[in-house]
Each structure stands twice: as structure tokens, then as C-alpha cells.
Symmetry: C2
């Protein structure tokens, strides 16, 4: 049986957000063990004009809540982007997982040809559901998850690829 839109999206998003949550737990434990202000990690960047860790996680969660809602044809939940601590970032991840789990396979399946319009300022991007998921959501989501991982790894948190992929 070919892959349904639900199978290709929600379970994978939930799994990756679980891995992200475990990585943040390791980062918080590392900060505590080394007596480093956790805010240093939350605000860390890989380059001066790249987003800090907190924003990477806000965007990663935006991408998947937006995807789930758009494929299901329901309103995209709006989150305030005010997280400044590991605990607040964990709460955002948990809230996103709860939302993802509230969307059923019946709502998502069959959305391969659904018209999706994204607005970036004055610019619009138009996709059909399947291309939106494969060509836009997956690369974008992993881009921000891996950047989060890379920021922590670059700053000495002891994590490995298995933390990213999950087991």
C-alpha cells in the first residue's frame, strides 16, 4: 500500500519532536552540570545573522502545526513566540504534539491534491498537498531541527546523531 499523507506526516513529526524534547533535556542537564546559564544555550547561534536556538524551535514547530492544519483544512493554531527558557520551549513542543495528535488520519488522508497557499510577506507560494509535504515541509522541518542540534553540539552538549534520529 502506498504511503498515505497521514503516515508520511503526523507520526514522523511527533517522533522527531519527541527526539527534540529529549535533546533539550540533555542540554538543560548539561547547563546545570557545568553551571552555565541555560539562557546562553537558548540564545546561541551558529552565525551572527542566523536565528538563535529558541527561534529555530519556534519555526520547527510552526512548520509542522501549519502542515497538519493546512492538510486537514482547519485553522492553523497561533502561538505567541515568547519562549525564552528550556521549560517554555518544552511546553511549546508539548503543545505542538498535542495539536498534531488531535488531527486524525481521516482529516489528512486524501490531501495530496489540496491547494496550499503560503504567504511570506507580500509573496505567495502555491503548492498541492503532496509537493507541499515532500518538497517544503520535510526539508524545512529538518533544517530547523538539525540547526538546533548543531547549535547545541557546537556549544559542547554531549549528543550524537542517535539522539536526533531516535532509536
Amino acid at each position: 500500500m502506498p504511503i498515505t499523507m497521514y503516515q508520511a506526516s503526523i507520526p514522523s513529526f511527533v517522533r522527531m519532536l519527541g527526539n527534540l524534547s529529549a535533546i533539550l533535556d540533555k542540554a538543560a542537564a548539561h547547563a546545570e552540570a557545568k553551571k552555565i546559564d541555560p539562557a546562553i544555550f537558548v540564545n546561541a547561534r551558529l552565525a551572527p545573522d542566523m536565528y538563535p536556538l529558541s527561534r529555530q524551535i519556534q519555526i520547527a514547530t510552526d512548520i509542522v502545526k501549519g502542515c497538519a492544519a493546512r492538510l486537514a483544512g482547519i485553522d492553523v493554531p497561533s502561538y505567541a513566540d515568547t519562549e525564552t527558557t528550556f521549560a517554555e520551549l518544552q511546553a511549546r513542543i508539548a503543545k505542538t504534539v498535542t495539536f498534531l495528535q488531535s488531527v486524525s488520519a481521516a482529516q489528512i488522508d486524501g490531501s495530496e491534491e489540496r491547494k496550499i497557499t503560503l504567504k511570506f510577506g507580500s509573496r505567495e507560494a502555491n503548492f498541492l498537498g503532496q509537493a507541499y509535504l515532500l518538497d517544503f515541509v520535510f526539508p524545512n522541518f529538518h533544517f530547523h531541527l538539525t540547526t538546533t542540534y548543531a547549535i547545541l553540539r557546537h556549544n559542547g552538549v554531549e549528543i550524537g546523531k542517535m539522539d536526533y534520529i531516535g532509536s
Copy 2:
């Protein structure tokens, strides 16, 4: 129509490798413009115990050639992992794309339940085709592509997320 195994894999891999190739071109041009030895970028890492850029690209290409071959039930091509320059890395990417394009939809489709065994030293991991693609290959491939991007971005190459995602 649900997503076929081919649609979810080969075209997306080829597209992302095209984006990677364009990013490496920008990195090579940057090195030349700034009169920086290109080897500095090829050997750059985000942490002392992370792989350098060259190895990130070797692994990223390994993941997708392995995926295409395993899903199709054919031998995985073996590449020597000897690349030390941008030109050699570009050749490896091009060789991988040629291989990916040699595998047809007819060979890949229907591989959702195919048994896939990966060997990591003495350890084995067993998957069915669909879970292998969604849970192992996608996260792994993007992990190494984004890390490549992050290494270059951290080292001052002027690239943005649109270079990663493609347009």
C-alpha cells in the same frame, strides 16, 4: 492517490542534491573571492568530534544511494570516500544523482514492506521499506545536508535557507 515509494524518495533526493551542489558552488566562489584555501571549508567542522564537511557529503550521498538500491533490491554502489576538494565532492554528488536516476519507479514502487537490514559494525537494524524511508533515511539525509549547510554558514559563506530548500 497516496504517495508512491518512488515519489517520496528519488525525485526529492535528486532535488536536494542539486541544491547541495549549488551551495558548494557558492562556497567555492566565496573561497576564491576571499582568497581562502578551499580546503579550509572542505575540512571545517562544527565541533572537534563532529565530521568535517567532506565526510558529511560522503555520508549524505551514501544514505540516498543505499536507500535507492535497497528499496529496488539491487546492489548498493560502493564509492571510495577519497574526496578532498570541492570538485571531487561535486563529482561524487553528480555520480550519486546519475545512479539515483538510473533506478526506475517500477523498481522502487511496492517496496513498502520490503525487509531492509542495515549493518553498523556488529549491530544490525531491521526495517520494512516504508519505515526505513520515513524514519531512517529522511532524517539522516537532511541531518547531513543541513550540517553541511551549517558548517559553511558558520564559516561565513553567504547562503540562506532558500539555497537549502531550493525554489
